[in-house]
Symmetry: C2
Subunit: 446 residues, 2 copies
């Protein structure tokens, strides 16, 4: 057993890209370069997949200038993976670490990454092998446990807020109904960030629909009708996780299908069936509990939302309302050029802190963030080490959520908006937002 | 007849928003403030619609600070319209101008705006009324006649390029096929801007599909298969105007429907029929020449493209390939915070120049841009006055296009890409793009 802590370091990235996951990578590398007990600095291609095939980039061969460029670039520079290693994979990884004299392992990813990290850690402990194992959290969804917020969220939130600024301005200029579907299936944090687009009273989004609450079609379309009737326009933010009262997302919900029937919108059930058959033809769609194909079409939810609204408004108002639905898509997690400066700095810090804690002698952990009350209203945040199992949720009793939904205090009573408290909470994380200037509405006296 | 040129000014905005249409508005206002023959400066709400209801904002009441904020804000600050005035509307507008002592009219918009401007101009001439009438071009599509390029295009192009940088980086990190649908039904300029996302050889987009050429489904899916087989991944840019050999867009094409049948993809014809029935239910879909409903679903084209590709790859490769299609959506024209500095400066210039030319005694025109050869390879551009009719295409013989498609020299022989010449042409218009840093692929020697 090498008890000196001297040895090689492996760093990897996992899960969906973010705008700042490379900041954490560069934080790990830059801090590692400062400690002589760390010898080789190996970047694993595609996370644990690269470790298993012993495919590493030499991070010592990168210039400082290039590292800074990479840090400012979205998506995972080492490549990522969606691979959740099983116990035997973790064993194989550990054997490779032992063979290659790796004593430091840093894994930047979501809660699955914390879990994998924890398993490898346990094997090393059993084998009495000196391995320092750290998890650096990242996710645009912000649904990781323990941490106040997660690197990746602030920049994605900034993208969403600026997209909704644009939506509001576009919708003002050419009034109608605009629906935008935002990422985040389990938690509404990212959808909620749309609220930061508001600058003046009356600004959109005029409703924010979150996966933490449930909605019927009737509630959904009547809310939009009320907004449109009052303002002559409506900009609506909808989480891709919009669900029925049993927690099933709309596209996979039997309750929604029954409601469509009841509302005389069976054309939409037919359309969902037709869409399911395409999935079938392309390799077999998974079937839900009710035998309906699960739809993965990127625009399918937006089209469903637009369709129920269009049909409802046509029936109620007797006219075709200008209606458009967009799905914000991958740009939320990897658009180049929209980064929150707070988020970038904290992501870098999480990588640096992980190495600092590791070389100080601590064996494992996840780097989380907490706000300091000493800020007197000003945003101040520090990183701290949390237990891997607390972040991965591995030891949680069955039925306890392994992700963090939005707190009730952040969701308004009416369930169609966030609270001012959420806006205060999110504001510093998104950093400086784009300018949104509106004319003074001084009429010409004729 | 007031021959002194003294009088009120009306400025309006029309058509789809852009990131810099407010720059042109502020250019008009700031220049107007410098000339004492211009008395009132009236901003018409929602273009000609606001003029017809005599609904004006006092642009003299805006502070300089606010004007600069508005200039930096996307979408039309005065509100816009999709209204194409008929001869009698133009007559009504002229009568309002006469009544309100308006002698200057500036209309910022596309070729329909140039047309409306021209009609009002002719009425004023017939009536021997001193009216200075100018059109300031704007469009993200860049398909206006006469001008080398159009304010609005550079910023939209920058958004598209940065979205495709993100796509490429995302697609590198988690390989698969990613298809993105870009705006521009008649011309491929905006889709072509995706090429500017490339920094290194092998960077996506790996194919660019333009409305200036026609494609069969077979050509489309086999191209993607070839790219995917070679690189293990594919990022594809597709214009929303992708069409068959008769020039009909895919979703409205009988040729495409026949090909779907022939390819044994009838599930997609069924899906299109189902989609058409929704449109029907929501106020009646327009029917095309073949009796098929025209689909306006925002994600419908992306879903069609994804579906044919998914089914083809599953049949050919015997596996489900990671496949996702996004529609870039309204963010292309109104996302807050992504602006080309070249575009912003030129849009401002077009507003200023219009007023300068008007007060110099010229009665009408459209402000266009041309490149200066004297730049010795460096980008240099100047504005110039063009005839309204040349820009609106009003006098063109039947069958001659009233918009400008991409030149042949900008489209590669294989029809799946743009030429290096296009990249050179577009580069200065998009301004400074986001950083895209990639690691040096130096393997660790084990």
């Amino acid at each position: 057993m090498a008890s000196t802590g001297k040895g090689n370091l492996v760093v990897g990235q996992s899960g969906g890209p973010t705008a700042v996951i490379n900041q954490s990578l560069v934080g790990v590398v830059q801090e590692a370069l400062r400690h002589e007990q760390i010898t080789g600095i190996y970047g694993a291609h595609n996370g644990v997949e690269g470790i298993l095939r012993e495919d590493f980039v030499d991070m010592r061969a990168q210039s400082n200038y290039l590292l800074e460029e990479v840090a400012a670039t979205p998506s995972a520079a080492l490549g990522s993976c969606r691979f959740k290693p099983k116990e035997e994979d973790c064993k194989a990884i550990f054997e490779i670490f032992r063979k290659l004299d790796v004593h430091y392992f840093f894994y930047i990813g979501g809660n699955d990454s914390a879990l994998s990290t924890g398993i490898i850690n346990n094997i090393a402990k059993q084998q009495n092998y000196d391995l320092r194992v750290f998890h650096c959290p990242k996710t645009i969804d912000n649904d990781l446990l323990v941490t106040d917020h997660c690197p990746g969220y602030g920049s994605a939130g900034k993208y969403v807020a600026q997209a909704f600024m644009g939506n509001d301005l576009d919708n003002r200029a050419l009034p109608g109904v605009k629906i935008d579907v935002v990422m985040g299936r389990n938690a509404g944090w990212l959808t909620a960030a749309a609220a930061l687009a508001r600058v003046q009273p009356g600004d959109g989004p005029h409703a924010i629909i979150l996966p933490e609450r449930s909605y019927t079609i009737k509630e959904f379309v009547e809310k939009i009708e009320a907004i449109y009737t009052k303002n002559g326009r409506a900009s609506i933010a909808v989480s891709e996780g919009i669900c029925d009262k049993e927690g099933n997302v709309w596209l996979q919900s039997d309750i929604i299908r029954a409601e469509l029937k009841e509302l005389g919108m069976d054309v939409l059930n037919d359309w969902m069936d037709a869409t399911g058959k395409i999935e079938d033809e392309a390799g077999g769609a998974k079937l839900d509990a009710f035998g309906h194909a699960q739809l993965s079409g990127s625009g399918a939810l937006a089209d469903l939302l637009a369709s129920v609204t269009k049909i409802h408004l046509y029936r109620k108002l007797g006219k075709k309302v200008r209606l458009r639905a967009d799905t914000l898509g991958y740009a939320q997690r990897s658009f180049a050029g929209v980064v929150s400066e707070t988020d970038a700095a904290e992501a870098r810090e999480s990588g640096r802190a992980a190495v600092q804690v590791a070389v100080s002698g601590v064996k494992d952990g996840s780097i989380c963030f907490r706000r300091l009350k000493a800020g007197f209203g000003k945003y101040l945040c520090e990183s701290f080490r949390a237990e891997l199992d607390d972040v991965s949720g591995v030891d949680f009793p069955k039925g306890v959520k392994q992700y963090r939904p939005m707190e009730d205090k952040f969701i308004s009573e009416c369930k169609f908006d966030v609270t001012p408290e959420f806006v205060e909470w999110a504001k510093p994380l998104l950093g400086t937002l784009a300018v949104k200037g509106l004319l003074d509405q001084v009429p010409v006296k004729i």
